[in-house]
């Protein structure tokens, strides 16, 4: 049978709403929006089966600009609302768009439970390491010592790594990209879309007004090859302008090495395995940060596990198979009684 998309193939335009996009000129959110709108028509899903749920913050304006179902919900609660939606309509492709404040400060609880539950949500976290909508206070991903309007003497809060947090909460799909590399963003979103269960994508996103250049090294053409390392399944961690640097495991710690020096070859490097059942490697990678190490970009982990909505359906069907269809009248008038002594 033809799907509606076969009859009227969808294009990027079909996912652009009539709303003027109102992020600051130069905001990294534009590139993410464009990539999302670009990949959705390729997924073979009818437009009415997409829903975009957001919380509060600059990133959370996202649903306004999508010509899909959507909701601009409560601060931090988008994963909870999306969970309700996905459970009641498992056939929908449900996306959550959030930020470092929304997901990790006020919404931290819902975020970790969405990760551990492995429900079929695609969660995009636009991490600009600042509260943008309230005009520039530090966020849970702001670095120690950061001076903002709310931390005039420098932040003394230790920041979260969203990737490490997601891994720690048991996420089955965790990826990272950077807004300036639009092709990579698109490829990570495609991988997330194909994943069963909760798919988490952190996108390092520049806030041009309140935290400009937070990812300068990763975005600048001259430095980015040395500032980041692309994770590829089954391949060693090689990076650098001349592709001659790598990450080696030294005890339990990472060591930066140069290929060809001290007899180091590719065979000595850490080989990425996104399917590893043990989360140790993914967590090890999540600890690599600029400037000592390159920032890993790509899929940290991609496991095949049953999704919550599948288990939920199986549980209900199993109960019906063993006990027959429910009968409220019988339950209310049933003989299951007990005596309080």
């Amino acid at each position: 049978m033809n799907s509606p998309n076969d009859i009227h193939p969808l294009t990027k335009k079909d996912f652009e709403s009539d709303q003027d996009v109102r992020w600051c000129p130069g905001c990294g959110d534009y590139s993410v929006l464009a990539q999302v709108q670009k990949i959705l028509p390729t997924l073979g899903i009818a437009r009415e089966n997409f829903a975009f749920i957001s919380g509060i913050g600059c990133s959370s304006r996202f649903p306004y600009y999508m010509e899909t179902y959507g909701m601009h919900s409560i601060h931090g609660r988008a994963p909870a609302i999306a969970t309700g939606l996905k459970l009641s309509r498992p056939e929908l492709s449900v996306w959550v768009v959030t930020g470092d404040g929304d997901a990790l400060a006020i919404g931290g609880n819902h975020f970790i439970h969405a990760m551990r539950r492995n429900i079929g949500l695609k969660i995009i976290l636009l991490n600009n390491r600042i509260y943008g909508l309230t005009k520039g206070q530090y966020s849970p991903t702001s670095e120690m010592g950061k001076r903002t309007k709310s931390t005039p003497m420098g932040s003394i809060d230790r920041p979260f790594s969203p990737v490490a947090l997601a891994l720690g909460a048991g996420a089955t799909f965790v990826a990272r990209s950077v807004d300036s590399d639009v092709k990579h963003v698109a490829s990570m979103l495609e991988r997330a879309a194909a994943h069963k269960g909760t798919a988490f994508v952190e996108i390092l996103q520049n806030c041009v007004v309140f935290n400009d250049d937070a990812y300068g090294a990763l975005s600048n053409k001259a430095t980015r090859a040395d500032a980041g390392v692309f994770l590829e399944h089954g391949k060693p961690l090689v990076f650098g302008k001349d592709r001659n640097k790598g990450i080696k495991l030294s005890g339990w710690s990472p060591e930066l090495v140069t290929l060809g020096e001290n007899a180091v070859s590719e065979a000595d490097l850490v080989v990425h395995d996104e399917k590893a059942a043990n989360g140790g490697l993914a967590f090890f990678l999540s600890q690599l940060e600029n400037p000592q190490f390159p920032v890993p970009l790509g899929v940290f982990r991609d496991l095949e596990e049953p999704a919550y909505e599948e288990l939920n359906k199986a549980m209900a069907e199993g109960a019906r198979a063993t006990k027959g269809p429910g009968d409220l009248g019988r339950l209310l008038n049933g003989g299951e009684t007990w005596t309080i002594k």
Partner: protein
């Protein structure tokens, strides 16, 4: 003859959020916990700056949400700290669980509500719906009209909250946008005089932790048949009594402020041009400025109109309001929020309750929702409708402003 030299007043130019921050600084609070939210954010940024500058020796902590903000402050207040926060709208909603627990524990906190309309549709603009939604929870609620009143009242709020006959948390409300960002001249009181006004720091309140008297706070009360409900009733009655006691304390504190600083703000209800008035407006917050102008214009036309501005909203100063409104023929109450289920404004309902022994007809007007401006022209319409009510004396529908104008 020797002239007595008055110290030169120290004027600053600031907005309402900064005025509140100056007050908190002058009150020398010990602990501030915050989460930014529009239109409150700049207020806590001023506080962060005052602390960084060494002007205020308080701890400040930015936590992960408003629920934690008030929880952090409960811990601090239990340890005897003088505490402060500010919030509004959805932030206040998220704070609700610790918010409803604070008055029962008799913790004398002060919190500014930079009033904002509530969802839905999403709105970041001014309106009283947030503060009105928590009006029955047991916090004292005071509304300010202008910048000076914000500064003075926020300082006074500590003396009210910490008074032994009261020991209740106080919300000082100022209107989002209209007062939070409006800029004007404000007189800054002298720090030493404010310290003298607030008096000796006293932490001997109901549940302040005391090493000589160790206790666990807020245990679960037992159910019917045991001593639980009776204990609960005593707590509830005590809270109600503290609320009622605060009426006199609020008056006394305002009077002392006037004596020391020369500025008198009506503590409960301000009567404006009420002598010989036949019609009266009842207002709350910053709308009062435009309403007073409309009253002046109506007076110039020969209409006998006056105004009652409710400053202290919880506890409701029913007796005072009834006294002020007693001589008029009709009353129009203007709310910047609605009471769902009654199809009118909440201040209108309170006014009806205050007027129940009289025979004065009243009407509800709702305006200023989601940041809409209630202009002098709007108040002229309200006065007209009130005049009609005085003549016909038959019940009228709620008048919705800003829907088409």
């Amino acid at each position: 003859m020797n002239a007595v030299l008055q110290p030169k007043p120290n004027y600053i130019v600031c907005d309402g959020n900064e005025a509140a921050a100056w007050a908190v600084s002058l009150a020398q609070v010990d602990m501030v916990a915050v989460y930014p939210i529009t239109p409150q954010s700049s207020l806590v940024e001023y506080l962060a700056k005052f602390i960084a500058d060494g002007r205020l020796g308080a701890e400040i902590v930015d936590v992960e949400g408003e629920h934690s903000v008030l929880s952090v402050l409960q811990g601090a207040t239990l340890a005897g700290a003088r505490t402060y926060t500010a919030s509004c709208g959805p932030g206040l909603a998220f704070m609700f669980e610790p918010y409803m627990r604070t008055p029962g524990m008799r913790l004398p906190m002060v919190m500014t509500i930079v009033t904002r309309d509530t969802l839905t549709p999403q709105s970041v603009w001014g309106g009283h719906q947030d503060a009105m939604s928590v009006r029955e929870v047991g916090w004292i609620q005071i509304y300010c009209e202008n910048l000076q009143e914000i500064l003075d009242t926020t300082i006074m709020a500590y003396r009210i909250a910490e008074h032994h006959d009261v020991m209740l948390p106080v919300n000082v409300c100022h209107d989002g946008n209209y007062l939070s960002f409006a800029t004007g001249r404000v007189e800054l009181p002298d720090a030493a005089e404010v310290a003298a006004f607030l008096g000796q720091r006293d932490v001997n309140w109901h549940v302040a932790l005391d090493p000589d008297r160790p206790m666990a706070v807020d245990p679960l009360t037992g159910g019917a048949g045991g001593p639980g409900p009776a204990l609960f009733v005593r707590y509830r009655k005590g809270q109600c009594q503290g609320m009622q006691n605060s009426l006199a304390v609020i008056e006394e504190v305002h009077a002392d402020w006037a004596r020391r600083f020369g500025r008198h703000h009506a503590p409960l209800v301000e009567a404006y041009r009420m002598d010989d008035a036949e019609l009266a407006l009842v207002t709350l917050g910053s709308m009062t400025g435009a309403a007073k102008d409309a009253v002046d214009e109506a007076r110039a036309r020969g209409q006998k109109v006056g105004l009652a501005k409710v400053k202290t909203y919880r506890p409701f100063p029913a007796k005072k309001l009834a006294e002020i409104l007693a001589p008029v023929k009709a009353v129009a109450v203007v709310d910047r929020s609605v009471s769902f289920g009654w199809n009118c404004g909440p201040l209108y309902q309170d006014t009806l309750a205050a007027l129940q022994a009289s025979n004065i007809p009243a009407m509800s007007c709702i305006g200023g929702l989601a940041g809409a401006d209630i202009t002098i022209t709007h108040f002229a319409r309200v006065i007209e409708a009130c005049a009609e009510l005085a003549e016909k004396r038959s019940p009228v529908d709620t008048l919705w402003l800003n829907e088409h104008d």
